[in-house]
């Protein structure tokens, strides 16, 4: 697994735990709004969870225009 794949995998795990969706049902290319049935404020909850896990601070705007796990992982990877 390369670093981006590892980050993506971690994010999928965190999303699965936080929103109580089986990990096996989540894929990197999934639209998290649709797959998790969440709104933009709940997506910020996920960002907070990711921050706690990676020990980094992510401004709200990192979610702007992002709706799939892979792109989110790319943005987070660039800050690690």
């Amino acid at each position: 697994m390369n670093p981006l794949e590892k980050t993506t995998d971690e994010i999928l795990r965190l999303a699965s735990e936080h929103f109580k969706v089986p990990r096996a049902e989540l894929n990197a290319g999934d639209d998290f709004f649709k797959k998790l049935g969440i709104n933009s404020l709940q997506a910020l909850d996920l960002l907070t969870r990711i921050e706690q896990h990676f020990h980094i601070e992510l401004p709200d705007y990192e979610l702007q225009g992002v709706s799939d796990f892979k792109t989110l992982a790319e943005r987070i990877q660039s800050r690690l």
Partner: protein, 569 residues
Amino acid sequence: MLDLNQYNCLGESLQAAIERWPDEICLIEADRDREKARLTYRQFSDAVLPLARALQDAGFREGSRAAILMTNQSKWPISAYAIFYCGGVLIPLDYKLSPREQVALLAHSKAEVLIVEYHLWRAIVQAPEFKSLAVPTVLVTEAPANADLAGAKRWENFRSSQEPVFVPRKRQDAACIVYSSGTTGRPKGCVLTHENYLEQCMTVAPVFPFWPGARYLSIIPTNHAIDFMGGFIMPFTGGGTVVHLRTLRPEYIRDAFTRYKITYMAVVPLILKSLQKGLEERFAALAPMKRRALGGLIRINRALTWRRARPRVSRMLLKEIHQAFGGELRALLVGGAFTEPTIIEFFHDLGIPIYNGYGTTEACTAITLNDLQPFLPDTVGRPVHGMEIRILNAREDGIGEVTVRSKTVMSHYLEDPELTAETIVDGWLMTGDLGRIDAAGHLRLMGRAKNMIVTEEGKNVYPEEIEAVFEGLPVKESCVVAANYIWHDRKMTGEQLVLVIRPESGKPISEKLVAEISERNRRLLNYKRAGGYVVWEQDFPRTASMKIKRAELAGEIRSKLGREAVNPL
């Protein structure tokens, strides 16, 4: 509060506020729990004047247009006042739009200056549309030291030590161009005058008065008409303080209430729902005895405050809850979209006054306001002072299109006389919303006459804006229509857009086609996506110039298919 009758333009009124309250705090900026800036009115002026002069030196004149593309922060009102100081016209752009949409609106507005946050500028520079951007002066805030700004200048360095010249404007001159929709195709740039804003402020300020020490928590984007008025013009002309919070995370919003003893906050229904959820979770975690006691206190509060809000009584009865909101909260203003009455009722029962209302950008925000006397959560209140409402073509049940007339109605749509003539008829603004007025004069909204939706986040979405993404699908023809436009529904929440597909004759809808539709739908921002698709086996009715007759198509679909024909996407 200043007597705004004395002033002809927003610049003059802001100048007067600075002279009147030089040592009061006007701006606090917080990033999570870190305070980043705190400015008095005098310091605010000190930040504005060198910027205004530098703009003037760069050729910015009376009537020149400047766009602001920023999240909520202190540089927003600083830049806005600099623009007004020079006699300019402000274009508050929505930072949540895509770079393509932002570039399109900058071109449509003919902005000569763009003031933009670094991360938003970076996204524009990386977009293919950057090549077509033709704004002569771009000022970027908060750029890292070594950042390549692609020809833009640093906002922080764009200063001149010379005195700027204050340029007064007349009441009828344009103050702002606010885009209410139409990021592709036909932009709707509402040209709002200084009079529109001054009149709106005088109308609403008596209900939500500001004074030195009153604090407004700004979380709705300042480009939104509600925050521009409630989080800039109203507090400033009352000597109040605006607290900018640079995050929407509920934990920091809760923290800001207590840290800054907030007096007012405007929210969209989505945020109100999130606050409600947080409180319900806290109630559920209480021990059974305590929960029952709380339930009893809430019932007592409801009985005592049904006819009118009694903040002192509520604060005493439900002390802990009110302390969690800082203990000085006077009102939560909810707007931008229709709010479920149950949510308003929840907060009202706790003694936290929620003022809902109804407004449009074209009317410079507020048309009606629920005055809580008595509390009627299923209405949007009575017309604000100076606002005339007429229900056009009312049916037997009194429901018709809401039309309004007031000094706050916009001047026109920028460069679109045809649309202006359709929208403002004999001085009456056609809102496109359906409603009726009850015996006590309260407006009840009953659906839409126009083909559009409003999301819980307060975003207007017009089908024409998203249609382009479905162009070239392997079908005979397709278009997007608001579900409520087809099947008239009196609900104004949970609205969705529907893709109507006319397949090639004899060709079934394949899984591959549905997958392609879903994939294209995902290219749109999440709040703009179609909620489903409908298969329609007849040709679309069209005008001689081949434009789809949407009202006719909606009527034909309604006569043959029910809502259950929508396949979710």
